[in-house]
């Protein structure tokens, strides 16, 4: 599959959007400018991202192996063999998210959901619907892109399945954050349009990673037709606003969304010294919505 560039050549006009870049703009145009247009990232790759990425990939390998006919024990061995190799030399200083707790979490997840009623859908080409890439045109100017963990059938209805890892205690307070939610709405829409499947919403398989245990919980976030139409209308408007910012080459700060932002310490400085602080604390790694890694 072709992987289109995010921007129209030589412009700050983004034509391929994923939930990450759209989320940045929705949070704050300045955050979007620093992250997406200029490509600034923290110099230290987060152990949360590394852990989440390995966790996703390991379970994806297991799913693929099972759908290709391997029994649980064989699929689990293959998964662990890959996991031990890929994490060889990974030194996480985090007591909860490290190599040992990663292996524990994968084994415990597969134990917990060994007799899962949610089954991977087999696509019309005979391939299992696992780690699916999507690109589809929302309008002539806007393409939406991303990755879906799995397309599953659960109680005779189709859903997207998305796996999350968190340090947060699981419960209604945790799952409430996904209603409404940019990523879950996009994934539901993608399931319907890109995979032509009447998905009802997203099954969220969450893993709470602690030092002494990994706990699992599952919840479903539904999207109706009208909710998806509303999300689509809103998205088009947000993207059009980004085009106006690009035309003016000015990205206003949303100073009501700074609390958990990586760029808080940049935006809190005088504008004349921000570039120096960015160069000191960040490095440039451009995000491509067509290639974006899975996050936690």
């Amino acid at each position: 599959m072709n992987k289109p560039e995010a921007f129209y050549s030589g412009t700050m006009i983004q034509n391929v959007w994923d939930s990450t870049s759209l989320g940045w703009f929705k949070d704050c145009p300045r955050k979007y400018f620093y992250s997406m247009i200029e490509g600034w990232n923290s110099k230290h790759k987060s152990h949360h991202l590394i852990f989440g990425s390995y966790y996703h990939k390991a379970l994806e390998l297991y799913d693929l192996s099972r759908t290709e006919g391997a029994e649980h024990k064989k699929a689990l061995r293959e998964t662990l063999r890959w996991l031990f190799k890929i994490t060889w030399g990974w030194e996480s200083e985090d007591t909860a998210k490290n190599r040992e707790t990663l292996v524990r979490s994968v084994v415990w997840y597969l134990d917990h959901f060994q007799n899962d009623t949610a089954q991977t859908v087999v696509l019309s080409d005979g391939k299992p619907a696992v780690e699916l890439t999507f690109h589809f045109e929302l309008t002539k100017e806007i393409t939406l892109a991303g990755h879906l963990d799995r397309l599953v059938s659960f109680l005779d209805a189709p859903y997207i399945m998305d796996r999350k890892t968190t340090g947060t205690t699981l419960g209604s307070h945790y799952f409430d954050r996904y209603e409404p939610d940019n990523q879950m709405s996009l994934y539901t829409l993608a399931g319907r349009i890109a995979y032509d499947t009447p998905v009802r919403g997203v099954i969220i398989d969450a893993a709470q990673i602690a030092v002494g245990f990994t706990r699992f919980d599952r919840a479903i976030t539904y999207r109706t037709d009208d909710q998806l139409k509303e999300w689509t209308r809103d998205t088009i408007l947000h993207v059009e606003q980004s085009y106006r910012c690009a035309e003016k080459n000015y990205w206003p700060m949303n100073d009501k969304a700074c609390m958990l932002c990586n760029f808080k310490r940049i935006c809190s400085k005088d504008p004349s010294v921000r570039e120096a602080f960015l160069n000191s604390d960040f490095e440039k790694r451009r995000w491509n919505p067509s290639e974006g890694a899975k996050n936690a």
């Binding site: 662990l80 707790t101 245990f213």
Partner: protein, 64 residues
């Protein structure tokens, strides 16, 4: 975590056999069973560093 499991985690992954992997899985499944029975730290993987033994201080050695 027993010494054997720690050693398996520390071993070059290229040398892990199917039996080694099965041993790790069985151990982790046992930890999970303990967790499900209420042991909240059953899955702790790192050994705690032993506390240093406290000994009496001989003030005379300080040369005060």
């Amino acid at each position: 975590m027993s010494t054997d499991i720690s050693e398996l985690f520390a071993r070059d992954p290229e040398s892990l056999t199917d039996q080694d992997l099965d041993t790790i899985v069985a151990h982790l499944q046992t930890l999970r069973a303990q967790f499900m029975l209420g042991a909240k730290t059953a899955g702790t993987m790192k050994k705690k560093a032993p506390k240093e033994k406290v000994t009496n201080i001989d003030l005379g050695e300080l040369g005060l």
